[in-house]
């Protein structure tokens, strides 16, 4: 990502090249160009430190070639996880008064506002 580098040597991303079939869906979904195509059409990790562990690649690899511990890189979520002894959660849909960070647009969820037109129905 131009102009931005985060802490290096920490990403949990791993690629099993034996399982890679070269479908390259990981190249499509990665927002930080972590992967590159090798000359045998299979994929290699070209920039591990650019990985933000979003998990899009592993979620879309149909061959189980990619493993990582996905999660939200959000301090509030990680601190909340420590305090409550649970998995990190950004709490965007929990408590209205919780001081969530600007991720998820600033805060929690409200009830839906109708658009003024009826919900679309499947034709009979």
């Amino acid at each position: 990502m131009d102009g931005f580098r985060y802490l290096g040597g920490v990403a949990t991303l791993e690629l099993d090249r034996e399982k890679c079939t070269g479908c390259q869906v990981c190249l499509t979904v990665c927002p930080h160009a972590v992967f590159a195509v090798d000359n045998d059409r299979r994929v290699q990790i070209a920039d591990l430190d650019a990985c933000m562990e979003c998990g899009a690649c592993a979620n879309n690899c149909a061959f189980g070639a990619i493993t990582l511990t996905p999660g939200v890189g959000c301090a509030a979520a990680i601190i909340r996880g420590w305090v409550t002894n649970t998995e990190p959660s950004c709490g965007c849909s929990d408590d209205v008064s919780a001081p969530a960070s600007a991720c998820c647009g600033g805060a929690p969820v409200a009830t839906g506002e109708p658009l003024g037109s009826d919900q679309p129905q499947a034709p009979a």
């Binding site: 990502m1 102009g3 931005f4 580098r5 985060y6 802490l7 290096g8 920490v10 990403a11 949990t12 869906v25 499509t28 979904v29 990665c30 927002p31 930080h32 650019a50 990985c51 933000m52 979003c54 998990g55 899009a56 979620n59 149909a62 511990t69 996905p70 999660g71 939200v72 890189g73 959000c74 301090a75 509030a76 990680i78 950004c90 965007c92 849909s93 209205v96 008064s97 919780a98 001081p99 969530a100 960070s101 600007a102 998820c104 647009g105 600033g106 805060a107 929690p108 969820v109 409200a110 009830t111 839906g112 506002e113 109708p114 658009l115 037109s117 919900q119 679309p120 499947a122 034709p123």
Partner: protein, 328 residues
Amino acid sequence: MTESTVPQVSSTLSAADTIARWKLRWRISRDGAAVSPGLFRIGEPSAESPVIVTCNYRMTFDLVRRDLGGLDVWLLVLDTRGVNVWCAAGKGTFSSRELMLRAALTGLERYVSHRTLVLPQLGATGVSAADVRATSGWRVVFGPVRSRDLKAFLAAGMKATPAMRAVTFTFAERMAVVPVELVGAFVGWFALIPFALLGIGALVSWGGAAALIAQPLAAYLAGVIGGGVLVPALLPWLPGRALSLKGAEAGVIAGLLAGLVLSAPPLMIAADTLLAGAVASYIGVNFTGTTPYTSPSGVEKELRVALPLMGAASVLAGVLWVVQAFGG
């Protein structure tokens, strides 16, 4: 085909849409953050028209329909409970299951003759194209990151350029989230901190000048501005990679300036600098929730180092104020 049962949405944003966005940006109210999920028409789509998928966060929905203006497409809005695509994908509401469910509930297959769904690339964290294909037969194509590239993506035969695939974090994008971060520093029990600090100031500088009493509060506000405004504004240029470090740097500068402007005695300037540094460091590291490039492993690593330092700096600031007040 009874297209008339599918509501048509406008691709022109109204004043009400602008007010809704403003309320979300300034954290005034999340009422109206969610729009109704379902199937919508942009223009006059036919059975061959593309199906664009998005979430039901108000700001996202508004951007997408604006950016699709002039096209004839179907818009399938998933129920993400009013949360944006990337966060919802991470939380599991923008998911393979919701996508297939929403397509089935709206009877999408009766309106289109093809089986292709165009999803935002950042939805890939929650949607597995292979699972969706195998379970429902819908073919997921991951489109560009930003909706403003959708027209070019569709015109190019659903091909994205590398630039369309890359996440950015421009100055304008960073500053757009400043209000919500700033307001966040003063909601909930955080709202009590300024009063507590004013109390501490009155206690340690009893009978002193107003500028002295206001020291702790001024230092705190300097820290909030350092972490909440300077960090986003100067993000690429503040030295170091850890957000807590960038925050501390911004806070130290802001705290020092506050102390000098209030013509505080040297020990109090030192205390201001320490407290502002700690506060800005905390707000800075919390900016990791907004930045699109920080990994959870990295955030955890820097928190383990930075949190104790923030605590130590705050305590030391308190000690210096007391020493100055009673010894100086």
